[in-house]
Symmetry: C2
Subunit: 337 residues, 2 copies
């Protein structure tokens, strides 16, 4: 079993602790890796995405300002654990080079396709929708057309084209806290026009993901299919609980789910996940992974207040997903109606 | 002032009655033109669209079956007032010629672009979304890709391409009765991939359209711009009230609103509009119009139970819209964020 991709020997890693009873996903013992008030005028950094870059690491971070509005901040790190941030939020330009600043920007993902880095985030497009920008140097960020009309959140590109098209997961939503939500897949030949939309999978029968689900980290290409870490939401009498789930999508037709784990892989239980601005949230946005060893590091927002780091190993997590897979017709069909 | 289009001397028409105090839109004196139980197994026909065809008229009709599920039925008429319907609902095929039947189909619009007729309707795409099909002979109906991910309703194509692209209005919504909604515009080079989405206009400050608005009839090309009849919704303590509004969009950049009438053009007041399965609904879906005389006939669903017909005259209605126009920044801007 192997990750199809590059080696990343300098990614962060800790061995699996003894005594793990459930899913083979374990937390970094120095969590949270980003504390409160990380920057002047920024109260919390969370729900953020990182990438290898020039032998070190780079990332786009959701920084919630002390005025309550979220923007995206650029961060750098030598070890992907200790991060320094630019004090200025990322400023975009449009295709003509004119300044473009969204009214807000949250929950960014960062994905490299071919030689370009893409940021997807939740933006204000007369309602919550997906913003999209590209950069090659992390100095100039060019916004592209919004791929979809509102309301939508949790978009993430696949790290390569499939059948010649860019592929993007997203989660249609409503104008508020959205008590529903399934994951869809859309294709684009040019990142301007999108279509061939397909339903990937719906909220689950299981309580932990019965309200809504949404794409998280960019899917990881493996010889078993696309390994997808996503979030699933449970609705309790005191609010939503966000857990991390796992599924494996067909490599050529990723609207077809091959395996879907009926158990969560990680759920809030540590203080930094259970306490915070939004209690009880584990919200995955990115992974680092090493094709040589199968090591995977999952970056997740914790309680809308911190960034947490968890580890797993390809073979362990894929086997766990397969052994605990429960599929419905909505999962396995092509997703066109 | 003139309609840019074809003559249609055989369209239905009645002269403006004397004593009209408000908007220059008046009802056909034989309304409703389609009564209850129009077909075996169909309880009500409403929210339907008609077109000239081979010297007579053709239409696609929302028929709500006695089991409560809506499908689209084909209708023919010599005078566009008296209609006969096919007993069998429209059956679609997919692009490969295989049978395709949506789980439900409601609120169809019918628009001719170049030599092809297109039907847009609200379909089940794991949630309410826009279905799209084409026909050239009204015998074979080929479904095309769903243009957007859910949730969406009230899509209508423009009757010609603009700057080389197909243009479609739609109204993003939620999974239920949707207490919000603005009109957006999307472009497509091929009816498969859609993008360059723009906000056209939002719900109004005026009470009659303060909950949501949605595209209605295909916009009519005039030398003043695109004349758009749409619906606006008011939220009362006893439910929604649907009225007909009017606006004029820029001819080359129809996300820019040139004039928007602050008053409704037609609001429920007759028994067939105020009484029915959904009381208090006037829901425009199509017009017939004659370029020679400027006559316009508006077809609208009444109380989700009947089809009504109303008339107006180009110069009268455009002048009324201009004289009562109130615009916001959201109306006049290009609609990109």
């Amino acid at each position: 079993m192997k990750i199809i991709g590059e080696a990343l020997p300098n990614m962060p890693w800790q061995e699996k602790p003894e005594g793990l009873k459930n899913a083979p996903v374990w937390r970094f013992n120095e969590n949270p890796i980003i504390e409160r008030n990380p920057l002047k005028n920024v109260a919390r950094i969370f729900n953020s995405a990182v990438m290898p870059y020039n032998g070190e690491f780079i990332g786009v971070f959701r920084g919630e300002q002390t005025n309550g509005i979220s923007y995206i901040y650029l961060g750098h790190s030598k070890d992907a654990v200790h991060w320094t941030f630019n004090e200025e939020k990322i400023h975009f330009v449009d295709e003509d080079g004119n300044d473009f600043m969204p009214n807000y920007a949250y929950d960014p993902r960062l994905v490299k396709v071919e030689d370009t880095y893409y940021i997807m985030w939740c933006t204000d497009f007369y309602g919550a929708a997906i913003g999209l920008a590209k950069t090659t140097d992390f100095k100039t960020f060019v916004r592209l057309e919004n791929p979809f009309i509102p309301f939508n959140r949790n978009a993430v590109l696949f790290p390569r084209k499939i059948n010649g098209n860019y592929m993007m997961l997203s989660r249609p939503s409503d104008s508020g806290h959205t008590p529903f939500g399934d994951i869809f897949l859309s294709e684009s030949p040019d990142l301007v026009y999108w279509g061939k939309h397909r339903h990937v999978m719906g909220r689950g029968a299981e309580w932990w993901e019965s309200v809504k689900i949404g794409g998280g980290a960019a899917p990881i290409e493996t010889d078993e299919g696309w390994l997808m870490f996503y979030h699933g939401v449970s609705g309790t009498c005191n609010g939503f609980v966000y857990s991390i789930g796992g599924a494996i999508l067909d490599i050529d037709n990723p609207s077809i789910v091959k395996y879907r784990c009926e158990n969560f892989l990680l759920t809030p239980e540590e203080w930094y996940e259970e306490r915070g601005f939004v209690p009880n949230v584990c919200f995955p946005c990115a992974t680092l992974h090493d094709a040589d060893t199968g090591r995977i590091a999952i970056y997740y927002g914790a309680a809308d207040s911190y960034v947490g780091l968890a580890f797993t190993q390809l073979e362990d997590v894929v086997n766990y997903i397969k052994e605990n897979s429960v599929l419905t017709t909505q999962d396995t069909e092509i997703g066109r109606r």
